[in-house]
């Protein structure tokens, strides 16, 4: 509200109470300076605000539009910069134009100043953006790492557990004779020489049907089978450690396409093996392996900025195809039967 003759006392009282806004206090001072007779009319005499002291020659300081400084050769550049900065009023713009008309020699200077803005060089790009990017919030990273590590370990185990090369050679070391019912009881393979001749990284194309030994066995599922890769843990020790390089080959990733002999797993988990082994496998069976697998892959993606995914697709023959894909392209796949995945 504007301070006037009718309300100035109210504002003065507020000032004395110490509750007047500083800006309004300034307006009140201004009001008193312009109306000293009203200030003198206060009950207390001249206010403590001004103490009756005023600058009496304000008129000398006041300017009108006509008093605006002329544009001349000394301030011409400043006017041009002010125009570049959009700080000139409409009137000043007109005055500058008039000056330029009357001083055509200054046109080049004005044009130069008008171009004194710097254009960003868009060819200059920061090349190391990827090194700046982050994947996890700093505080959460510590929480995630153990979870991811555990989950990744489980996934690794699953891959080892359910995947096997379609056709691999079982060396005599792997084929053990067991009295335990349900286990494959096999005669030693007759031609280990060929197996030994295989390269360290065996790929599907390296193995022909004729290389595959035929095993015979007895037990609940004892029958003649084509011996595909049988994970080492199905056999009592001593066993040869799983050769990881045989499972993951760069040359032929499809080596892991396999038809796992799930009947054999059933044999094992149905109680036809020694208690310890059965206990372990039952424990594994109680995991929700698929959920764990998905979690691990998500964690792996976050940590490595990968785009992996896992998928399971029912097949017409009753089996399930599980696959690990990257950007929609299958890296590893396996067909399993009767497995809880």
């Amino acid at each position: 509200m504007e301070i006037n003759r009718n309300n100035f006392e109210h504002y003065y009282r507020l000032y004395l109470d110490g509750s007047l806004d500083p800006v309004v206090t300034g307006e009140l001072m201004l009001f008193f300076s312009e109306n000293p007779e009203l200030e003198a009319s206060l009950d207390s005499g001249p206010s403590v605000l001004t103490n009756g002291i005023y600058f009496s020659k304000k008129d000398r300081l006041r300017k009108s539009h006509a008093d605006m400084p002329e544009i001349n050769e000394y301030n011409f550049d400043e006017f041009c910069v002010a125009r570049l900065e959009n700080l000139l009023s409409q009137d000043d713009n007109k005055r500058l134009d008039e000056y330029l008309r009357s001083n055509p020699g200054k046109a080049k200077d004005a044009a130069l100043i008008a171009q004194l803005t710097l254009g960003a060089d868009i060819s200059l790009l920061y090349k190391h953006k990827s090194s700046l990017k982050k994947t996890l919030l700093p505080g959460r990273r510590k929480l995630f790492i153990p979870v991811i590590a555990i989950a990744a370990s489980v996934v690794f185990f699953i891959v080892l557990f359910v995947s096997a090369p379609e056709k691999a050679v079982i060396t005599p070391d792997l084929v053990q004779t067991s009295d335990t019912p349900g286990f494959i009881e096999a005669e030693p393979a007759p031609a280990p020489d060929k197996a030994e001749a295989l390269p360290e990284k065996a790929v599907k194309s390296d193995i022909s049907d004729s290389d595959t030994p035929v095993l015979t066995g007895e037990g609940s599922k004892a029958e003649t089978i084509t011996a595909e890769y049988v994970p080492a843990e199905y056999f009592p020790a001593p066993i040869e450690p799983v050769n990881i390089s045989r499972l993951f080959t760069v040359e032929n990733p499809n080596v892991l396409i396999t038809d796992l002999q799930n009947d054999h797993i059933s044999d094992i988990t149905d109680g036809n093996v020694e208690n310890e082994r059965q206990g372990i496998l039952t424990y594994i069976r109680d995991f929700d392996l698929w959920e764990t697998t998905e979690l691990a892959v998500k964690g792996f993606n976050i940590l490595t900025e990968s785009n992996l995914s896992v998928a399971r697709t029912p097949q017409d023959d009753g089996k399930t195809r599980i696959s690990l894909d990257s950007d929609g392209k299958t890296i590893i796949s396996a067909r399993v039967k009767g497995y809880r995945l």
């Binding site: 002010a82 570049l84 900065e85 130069l112 960003a120 919030l137 505080g139």
Partner: protein, 160 residues
């Protein structure tokens, strides 16, 4: 600010920030170090910085990091802010080259505010927030900077 927002700020602002710092510092390696430092500082406070203000945060941090860097460098190398004016014989292949050379001769404060104004289109108020200068100081620096550029370039005829 979330992690995706942080990464978006890398995509959206690192180029502009790099240009701003590079034009101020003149050396690509130093500019890259400052960008790295700036984003590292942002990452340390990522939960506290509002994404809507991240650009201002980045430029403010980069500006102050750069000023600290320049002060240290000046202290050790004795580099002066004093600028030399070109000889009358100087000629430039176009206004851009002339401006590039002229801007490098500006005092650091004036150079920074002009770059923020021209490269990023910041208002006086925004520049004031970034640099910690008052708005009137910003305005004065911009005026002085532009007048210096004009004086440095001298005769328009020299620009081929």
């Amino acid at each position: 600010m979330t992690v995706p927002e942080y990464n978006k700020s890398v995509d959206d602002y690192s180029d502009g920030l790099y240009r701003f710092v590079l034009k101020n510092m003149g050396k690509a390696e130093q500019a890259e170090d400052i960008i790295q430092d700036t984003y590292e500082k942002l990452w340390m406070r990522v939960s506290l910085v509002d994404y809507r203000k991240v650009k201002s945060y980045l430029f403010t941090t980069a500006y102050h990091t750069m000023i600290d860097y320049l002060r240290k460098e000046k202290r050790f190398s004795g580099i002066s802010d004093e600028t030399d004016m070109p000889s009358d014989q100087s000629n430039y292949n176009g206004l851009k080259e002339a401006l590039d050379r002229a801007i490098s001769r500006l005092p650091a404060d004036q150079r920074s505010v002009i770059l923020l104004r021209d490269y990023e289109g910041y208002s006086y108020e925004e520049i004031s927030e970034v640099t910690g200068l008052s708005e009137s100081q910003v305005k004065v620096y911009i005026f002085r900077g532009r007048l210096f550029l004009k004086k440095y370039l001298g005769n328009p005829e020299k620009i081929i």
